[in-house]
Symmetry: C2
Subunit: 195 residues, 2 copies
């Protein structure tokens, strides 16, 4: 059985992150099993999302408006800096944070030819100056590019007298120490707290 | 961040088989990262596939025409009966089978209220009569509904003097016997061959 339209649909699904041939095929069959109306709604929601969602001019997060609600509503006294829009979703679970976010769209990574000029660092500096920000919380990923970016930005912001902090690193809640990796354990030991 | 269009897209992805919230979210971000043109092509391929692909009137497999190429081309001297269209894809890997397929669209399963009338059994009987089929190979899944359906159809086809066979069951090639399940091992022992 070779069906051109099915083949194209499978190829389309393969362009999604982490989807191989078998999964794409499964999704394509899933689409064929839906009602015609549901398929149209699905397709429309895709085009709609792509058309409507852009990046907020202030924070760089996904937004349907030029400046997103959060940037309009909250003060930029505290800015939480993350790598990607999806990290904002993770950080939004925090109940007691009421500052704004700043999405860098990447981290400094020489291996991927990402220099400080390729990510939204100058926009961050501009925001800090404009809003007289008191604290910048670096919530980039706890890996080499994330750490590098955090240290780079901390150095850069020193002249502005803003406090730059970093998410604490150590063992995660609920971890079995037996399975914790060496780097994490070393970090946790280094940064141990008084009780 | 609450974006209506993103939310709708995530919901749409969740309607695909085996996709939960996190995966749907990941796919939605994947879509937002594509170019506008790619998203339109993706959406169009979905609508296209759903519009063009129907079931072949003869074999019940997916087809863009009323009767699929294989049913037009091959003789129905041998009919291989499978449960779902996706099983045809699996069986098509066989190099030395040149009969036609027949898709039942399900198997007899009292737990899911699937009776013989709910699946394409009478279409199979009609085909066997019309084409004077010599052999019907039951390739339904090797589980209780699949076996039940195979035995049911074998009984039903007896008056027509057609040979009804069933895919051999036993241990799969490359299996570690240590991990083979009891039922499979029992079946393999029962149906053991002379060397």
């Amino acid at each position: 059985m070779y069906l051109d339209s099915l083949d194209k649909l499978v190829s389309a699904f393969r362009s999604l992150p982490g989807v191989g041939f078998k999964t794409a095929q499964r999704y394509a069959y899933g689409v064929l099993n839906m009602s015609e109306e549901d398929v149209k709604t699905f397709a429309q929601s895709m085009v709609n999302a792509k058309e409507k969602i852009h990046f907020c001019n202030e924070c760089g997060n996904f937004s349907e408006k030029e400046v997103c609600d959060q940037c309009l509503k909250c003060s930029a006294e505290t800015i939480c800096v993350v790598g990607e829009p999806k990290d904002v979703v993770a950080m939004e679970k925090l109940k007691n944070f009421n500052g704004v976010f700043h999405v860098l769209h990447g981290c400094i990574n020489p291996l991927e030819h990402k220099t400080p000029n390729d990510i939204r660092i100058k926009e961050l500096v501009a925001r800090v100056q404009k809003h007289k920000t008191k604290e910048v919380i670096m919530a980039t990923n706890p890996d080499v590019p994330g750490d590098t970016t955090a240290y780079y930005i901390a150095e850069l912001l020193k002249p502005f007298g803003v406090k730059v902090t970093r998410l604490a690193q150590g063992v995660s809640m609920g971890t079995d120490l037996e399975y914790a990796d060496e780097v994490t354990l070393n970090r946790a030991m280094e940064l141990r707290n008084n009780l």
